[in-house]
Amino acid sequence: MGQDASTSDAEAFAWFFTAEYGQVVRVLTVVLHERPAAEDLAQEAFVRLHLHWAKVSRYDRPEVWVRRVALNLAFSYRRREYRRRTLEAVATWPEVEPEWNPRVDHDDVIAAIRTLKPRERALIALFHMEDRPLDEVSDVLGMTPGAAKVALHRARRRLARRLTDTEVTP
């Protein structure tokens, strides 16, 4: 009986992983500009999910939980890397530009997204790439829906200015 439960848990986790891992990697790549780091941090988020699977799998939206953990890891990683690169630059080592290899040529849009702050990039990725509703986006980022709407509006306005000089509203 216990064996059956744990087998079905393992299967459920494998299904969930297969469905969500790729999306989480994509969102983190938008935030970090670094595919290897995005993959590593996504895997770390899923390790934590696996350790808490018995509890989190009973949540209404475990996909929100894993994105929240993954993005928090990504934001911490960005801060750490920023500090490290600043120190290294001061201590004579040249600053290394992060890897950025978009598959298809959308240079202007991608370059504009790169100018946003990591949290804004996460907003754009969750809303425009993953097509998640705003209340879910705000839940992932630990913001109120109102704050998320304002932040998204600002991020879009900044992108629009860079791309077309046109005002837009979400």
Binding site: G22, V30, V47
Partner: protein, 197 residues
């Protein structure tokens, strides 16, 4: 289509096409890695928790007699050899110039505390470079320091310097240090500022 609609669709298409999801074989490999890492962490938890409890018990057993003064004859070991005593507990000062390291140039002070702690103060413009928890050790005429291991010298071994007194100054010459930033600070003459014992 409205202006907003065109903008949304341009953004969505750029994101969709620029950021591909990993392929299925990569996803399966990642799943295996995640399960392995998770299992390893579970095993570590099983080992670490009892070990932590055992360590806490041992610490309590060790601390209580020490607190009661039962081990009075056991003095803490110090990093200082008799010959090195004159440079320990003294505050030394050095003006770092050149080396092309903007922010690192300026006045540094160095204190080798008798308990083995190394205290450095840095030029005011330099932020985020801490020396908390750093230490020194003298072996004969060699001084070993692990400054900046939490920052620009991370993953690098401690630096070793030959030390000698020359008049009122302490002269450090690099013996081996793979961290350029640390060598730029330590290598050279330091003048005495005063005692801080």
């Amino acid at each position: 289509m409205t202006e907003d609609g065109r903008f949304d669709s341009r953004l969505a298409i750029a994101l969709q096409e620029s950021f591909a999801a990993p392929e299925m074989r990569e996803t399966v490999a990642a799943l295996e890695l995640v399960l392995e890492r998770s299992a390893r962490r579970r095993r570590r938890r099983r080992v670490v928790l009892p070990a932590a409890i055992a360590a806490a018990v041992l610490a309590t057993v060790g601390i209580v007699p020490w607190a009661l003064g039962l081990f009075d004859d056991q003095r803490p070991t110090r990093n200082v050899e008799t010959a090195a005593a004159p440079i320990v507990g003294e505050v030394w000062r050095r003006d770092v110039t050149g080396g092309g390291q903007k922010g690192w140039q300026g006045t540094w002070t160095l204190l080798l505390k008798p308990d083995g702690a190394l205290v450095l103060s840095m030029p005011p413009g330099l932020r985020g470079v801490g020396t908390d928890g750093n230490s020194w050790r003298i072996e004969g005429s060699t001084l070993r320091v692990d400054a900046f291991v939490g920052g620009p010298c991370s993953d690098l071994p401690p630096g070793t310097y030959a030390w000698r007194r020359s008049g009122g100054a302490l002269v450090l010459s690099v013996v081996q240090d793979t961290c350029q930033a640390r060598a730029a600070v330590f290598d050279g003459p330091w003048s005495a500022v005063g005692a801080n014992r």
